[in-house]
């Protein structure tokens, strides 16, 4: 049995190249990481349980692509069949070659071109089983390739609204990838036609080809073509998006080791850029794409520009910062730190001396309406009514002249100004002796939680109302209103508060969910985007408004900016959750009711 032929060279050279490129890349990244973070990696490696969990995650995401299935079944199936099918072909091919040759050391190309080296493998033990499995997974990969091919033409079926632009080298990678498996199929089929070694798909195709007179020499050509396409693909990998196949497991490994990305953000961003598969899910989930507003702030473009070194502040000035892309990313890429670091830093002289005139009253539980909250006095009034019903005391901190939380300055690139305001606010909170802050502005909430080092809890009014209900301080009447809830960006994605408002609405109304693709769509009233016109904002708001089912009477939200943006709605009433709740809240009489219940219970006994 011959164990070498010249045609394996393109494949082998490509393979060696990609392996070396990958190892060099990993060594570079690891060397750039700070010591503490590397320690965390070791921590994961020595703990078998955590390591097992990490491996399961890698199989789930890098091979099976479970997260993509959640976005779109076809898209998930396409990625799964390509990745998992290919992986299984490699694993089973290796096993097969070991069983047939009874040696444990084979050159790397040997299992790949096994049928060339052992053309008459039909006589071997377990051959039936092996050839069935190989055919099965080959069919799987071919289905994936077919789907990938059709995706180019009917991308909407795959939930891809806007296709990412491909560069020349990306195209080389893509076309060679498309060719690999049809060529393998061809080579194996011809071989099967001559030697009857195939299973359920290669055998009939082989017989057909054999009857057409395709013989040994054509098989040899097919093997050559297969090897060349593999070689080209491998050489293209480090320069194209296909690097994500190799980088993503490493990225998952980092994530599972719980490394602190902020300690080595530039390198982490590089790793993220190479983990991005350019699947285009972020493009489709972006409100700007849906409202056909130009600009390239989506992660797919940012990460690509990062790889090319062509990042510019303009790329993030046209972003709403709603973070829908982060939420939908199947790889779990976090783009926010990159985006914030790109904000054009403006050295702007400020005169916030007057803020020392502001004074917050002494309070135990303080209410901070925030700038935007001042524009929706109904929310503040309703909260007052609710706390009165509950017999709680909520002191309005910034009633007479509050200070901005600092986020709008940060989003405009005025970092120094933002820090000045943060320091002022922190001092004012300390002076007032407040022990808990309730705010009705999600923007303030996120800033207080993330950027302030406050030692006291800060909660949003949805959480506050939720607590009042759970502690039976207030109870809610169920009204006949049919409600939907709009998730504000900063509240849902920024602070992870999505369950509380739904709990409240289910108690006080008939609650229905918005369709998935419109859930949490930005309202358009963003302070991050610097060039949106009013009409464009209205277009973004209408994305949500147009997807509200016709039987719905109320659109409930919990952010003053969102309620303002949706005020144009004509078919539904737009209300803050506090306003809606206040109308249906009453004071329960828990002790009496319970006693009564107990009495009746004993009576029936």
């Amino acid at each position: 049995m011959d164990r070498f032929d010249i045609f394996v060279l393109p494949f082998t050279v490509g393979l060696v190249f990609v392996v070396f490129a990958y190892i060099a890349q990993l060594i570079y990244w690891l060397r750039q990481m700070p010591k503490d973070e590397k320690g965390k990696l070791k921590g994961l490696l020595v703990s078998p349980i955590r390591l097992a969990k990490c491996c399961i995650e890698i199989v789930k995401e890098s091979l099976l692509h479970i997260n993509l299935f959640r976005t779109n079944l076809l898209l998930g199936f396409m990625h799964m069949s390509l990745a998992f099918g290919w992986f299984m072909l490699i694993v089973i091919g290796n096993l097969e070659s070991k069983v047939y040759t009874s040696t444990h050391i084979n050159p790397p190309y040997f299992p790949i071109f096994l049928e060339y080296f052992i053309p008459d493998m039909g006589s071997f033990k377990y051959h039936q089983e092996f050839s069935f499995l190989m055919d099965f997974f080959l069919l799987m990969v071919l289905t994936g390739t077919f789907l990938a091919f059709t995706k180019r033409f009917v991308s909407r079926r795959f939930s891809i609204i806007k296709k990412p632009k491909l560069t020349a080298i990306d195209k080389i990678g893509l076309y060679s990838l498309w060719l690999i498996f049809p060529l393998r199929f061809l080579a194996e089929s011809i071989n099967s036609g001559i030697h009857q070694t195939g299973s359920f798909i290669t055998e009939p195709t082989g017989e057909l080809l054999f009857s057409l007179g395709v013989g040994e020499s054509s098989a040899y050509t097919a093997w050559w073509a297969y090897s060349i396409s593999l070689g080209i693909f491998f050489v293209a990998v480090p320069f194209t998006r296909y690097m994500h196949i190799l980088t993503e497991p490493f990225f998952i490994f980092l994530r599972k080791a719980k490394v602190d990305a902020s300690k080595f953000q530039p390198i982490f961003n590089q790793i993220q850029a190479k983990s991005c598969s350019k699947c285009g899910v972020c493009l489709s989930s972006c409100p700007l794409t849906k409202a056909s507003i130009s600009g390239k702030p989506q992660p797919i473009y940012l990460l690509d520009a990062l790889k090319r070194g062509s990042l510019s502040p303009e790329m993030v000035e046209s972003c709403l910062n709603c973070r829908r892309c982060e939420e939908s990313c199947p790889v779990g890429i976090t783009i926010e730190p990159l985006r914030m670091s790109l904000k054009k830093q403006i050295e702007h002289e400020t005169d916030f001396g007057y803020t020392s005139l502001a004074e917050y009253p002494k309070a135990k539980v303080g209410y901070f309406s925030g700038c935007m909250g001042k524009l929706t006095p109904a929310t503040t009034k309703s909260l007052e009514k609710i706390t009165e019903t509950a017999g709680e005391k909520l002191v309005h901190l910034d009633k007479d002249g509050g200070i901005c939380c600092g986020r709008p300055q940060k989003l405009a690139g005025q970092l120094a100004a933002s820090q000045e305001l943060m320091a002022k606010n922190t001092a004012l909170f300390r002076e007032s002796g407040v022990e808990m802050i309730v705010t009705s502005c999600p923007i303030c909430l996120k800033t207080f939680r993330d950027d302030y080092q406050l030692s006291i809890p800060v909660i949003h009014h949805t959480e506050y109302i939720n607590r009042l209900i759970k502690n039976e301080r207030i109870a809610l009447n169920k009204s006949d209103a049919i409600t939907v809830y709009h998730d504000p960006c900063e509240l849902a994605r920024g602070c992870g508060i999505t369950k509380e408002p739904r709990y409240i609405l289910k108690k006080s109304s008939t609650f229905t969910e918005l369709p998935k693709e419109a859930r949490g769509m930005c309202c358009g009233n963003s302070m991050a985007h610097s060039s949106l016109s009013y009409n464009q904002k209205a277009d973004i708001a209408s994305l949500t408004l147009n997807s509200i089912p016709s039987n719905v009477s109320h659109l409930i939200t919990s952010c003053p900016a969102c309620s303002k943006a949706f005020k144009v709605a004509d078919k539904v009433t737009v209300e803050d959750i506090a306003v809606f709740t206040a109308r249906h809240a009453y004071k329960p009489t828990p002790i009496l009711e319970k006693q009564h219940y107990k009495v009746s219970e004993t009576a029936t006994r």
Binding site: D351, T355, M372, K374, G401, G402, P408, N525, M527, S530
Partner: protein
């Protein structure tokens, strides 16, 4: 012109023909919606900064339209760019954007 004996004090006169309206022109070219402002003052009414000081964004804009930009830098420094004015504006003019543009302009001027 008939003379009724009234005069205008020289120091309160604004000669629009001679005034330097370059900032106004720059703002209009970069943000055409600037012209939509009807000077209603809703922005000043809700302004967070105005609650504590005499800062008046409506006045700032009026002064720009008259070419009086001497105290512009000191006035603009008081703005917290919180964006409340933008949300209340009946003509949907973004004062926040105008302030950011003025900042940019001042920076280019003073380096």
């Amino acid at each position: 012109m008939a003379k009724f004996g009234f005069t205008t004090r020289k120091d309160s006169m604004i000669m629009l023909d001679k005034a330097d309206l370059s900032l106004r022109r720059t703002l209009i070219s970069e943000y055409p919606e600037y012209q939509l402002c009807i000077n209603c003052g809703a922005c000043s009414a809700v302004c967070t900064a105005a609650q504590l000081t005499s800062f008046n964004i409506r006045e700032v804009k009026l002064n720009i339209d008259r070419g009086q930009t001497v105290s512009l830098k000191n006035e603009i420094a008081k703005c917290m760019i919180c964006g409340k004015c933008e949300m209340i504006c009946p003509k949907n003019v973004s004062n926040r954007k105008i302030v950011l543009l003025i900042n940019k302009h001042l920076q280019e001027q003073h380096g």
